[in-house]
Symmetry: C2
Subunit: 347 residues, 2 copies
């Protein structure tokens, strides 16, 4: 019913006066290297065009487990309204990548239920392979998919399932460590790192980078990491830090920007400016702000490139039937040299 009056290979066969199988061979580009007369080929091609034939992706996939369709599964909406800033560039990259490879993209959003149960995850099988976007990892369903040999790639590093999940992520560790190195070079020895409570891999990686950075320059990690819910940071806290010898504050970037907002809010409330009174860096790129203001030192998250690379990795996995030497890719985060870092100045 859904495909209604659409022509099938059998119809083409009738028109061209050949068998349905021959039609399949011709239209399939004769992968098997069968000997075919050019005349037959032409007749089939013409009949197909005159009938407006397009292959049924479902049947194609059933018969060959290939249909040039790559999936994109998102745990929230694919077009989110809240985290648009961080998702959108990834989607742009995914689309570009798919286009480069001549693959169509199918969005799995149809799950009427809020739970990402087995059933909704399983639908991804309609595609040749699937990208997953979002922090959530429904381990059981994903493991089942993996076990069955279905190619999938997460966008963002995932450590679940003993590292079996292929991913393309950003190297937050290195980028974060670099920020600390820069601060150390400027003479900072009293540093606070402000992060949110959420323990996503992207947050854990940043913290790890900070700690590694500190250790690399021989600084203690003691008291450095501070968690905030976004409301528990005020001018008092800032002043206390300064009294304790803090000369630089580093803050993580997240979808919500809660930690970033808390820190800049507290600095403003304390009447301090950067880098005159305090140096400030953000582990990522602060959300676009209204009005002018200094460019904050931090790094770029190569989201668009992540999207492109994830598609490419997925296509490789599809082509290689799941085998691939190293299905874990971490992309470099280019530094953003801003105006908020200065020499360490004690109060």
């Amino acid at each position: 019913m859904a495909r209604g009056q659409l022509p099938r290979q059998a119809d083409i066969a009738r028109v061209a006066g050949v068998s349905q199988a021959t039609v399949s061979v011709v239209l399939g580009g004769n992968q098997g290297g069968v000997r075919l007369s050019e005349a037959t080929r032409q007749r089939v091609i013409e009949a197909a065009e005159s009938l407006g034939y397009v292959p049924d992706p479902v049947a194609t996939r059933l018969a060959s487990s290939r249909n040039n369709l790559l999936g994109l599964y998102t745990f929230t909406a694919t077009f989110p309204t809240d985290v648009a800033d961080s998702y959108y560039p990834i989607l742009v990259g995914v689309e570009e990548g798919a286009k480069d490879l001549g693959q169509d993209l199918i969005l799995f959003t149809g799950s009427s239920t809020k739970t990402h149960d087995d059933a909704s995850i399983r639908r991804t099988r309609l595609a040749d392979g699937c990208l997953f976007l979002g922090r959530h990892v429904p381990t059981e369903s994903i493991e089942r998919l993996l076990d069955s040999g279905f190619p999938l790639v997460y966008i963002g590093r995932r450590a679940e399932l003993g590292g079996r999940i292929p991913y393309v992520g950003a190297d937050y560790v290195a980028a974060s460590a670099l920020i600390i190195a820069k601060l150390a070079e400027l003479g900072h020895r009293g540093i606070r790192y402000v992060r949110e409570h959420d323990n996503a891999p992207s947050s854990a990686d940043r913290e790890r980078g900070v700690l590694e950075g500190l250790s690399a320059v021989g600084l203690s990690a003691r008291d450095v990491v501070v968690r905030t819910d976004g409301t528990d940071l005020g001018s008092e806290q800032i002043h206390a830090w300064r009294r304790a010898g803090v000369t630089a504050v580093v803050v993580e970037e997240t979808d919500t920007g809660a930690a970033f907002d808390a820190v800049t809010g507290a600095l403003f409330a304390a009447g301090l400016s950067c880098p005159a009174d305090l140096s400030l860096a953000v582990l990522g790129r602060p959300p676009t702000r209204i009005g002018p203001g200094p460019v904050i030192t931090g790094f770029e998250v190569p989201r668009r490139e992540m999207g492109r690379r994830a598609v490419r990795l997925l296509a490789e996995l599809v082509a290689a039937k799941g085998e691939r030497p190293d299905p874990h890719q971490l992309l470099e985060c280019p530094p953003v040299d801003g105006q908020t870092l200065g020499p360490a100045r004690s109060r």
Copy 2:
């Protein structure tokens, strides 16, 4: 291969000692109302669970000949970087609509070849029906699609092909006329309407609304419509208008915002403020600006709702096999009461 070692209904049948068809009936919830012994049902269920059976969605769809796939064809990238402001809300609505209906979305990006040839348009047949987003209408290909009974819906009004193209658009005519009515009520009789050269339906509709609005309040349309390329408008022009008795300027909103930028730029250059010196309205909603500023009177384009409704209309067309009383829908544009309209003040 893709499904690796996954158990199938045949495996369950073997374990439960029944036929594969019986397994299908039991697991399918016995839709056909077949009489089944409870004992058999139990054995099948247990066998399925013990084997960890999950149905193959591809086979399910092939057999039931439904693919629950709605297409979205865009003439530029689906995730554009330039017109993100105007496309994104539509995409959000489309996704919401698809999700509500339990349909997956397949993205067709026509721009792989710059020409939207028959082949790329025809590929949309992969889905049960397809949405088209963008000003471009490749009439021949679309007509062929229409002729074949393939359900399609444009997002945005289309007059091509003698009105045969189903669409969900915005009622720019009414919303634009309303702006003129408001101005007239405030005593404005000298009005300029600034628009770009592009003749998209959305532009034509706005102009028509302006003209109808003028005529409704007995004002002449003479000299009212001004076309700009975005660079040919300066303070001189504004001053000349004021000398000619103009007290209000209305400008169209477009993806590029060229006309809007030209007008606001010229006003700024002329050192005029709204509504103190001149009243200002925009036919649509001005792009989000950096920094504070007055809210400009205009109207909302219900893009998200357009997306939702377009999906709904498409689904209806799919279900009804192309028949539907009135496949042309125009949604209301809610007015935005801003701070840039005031009583008419001659210079």
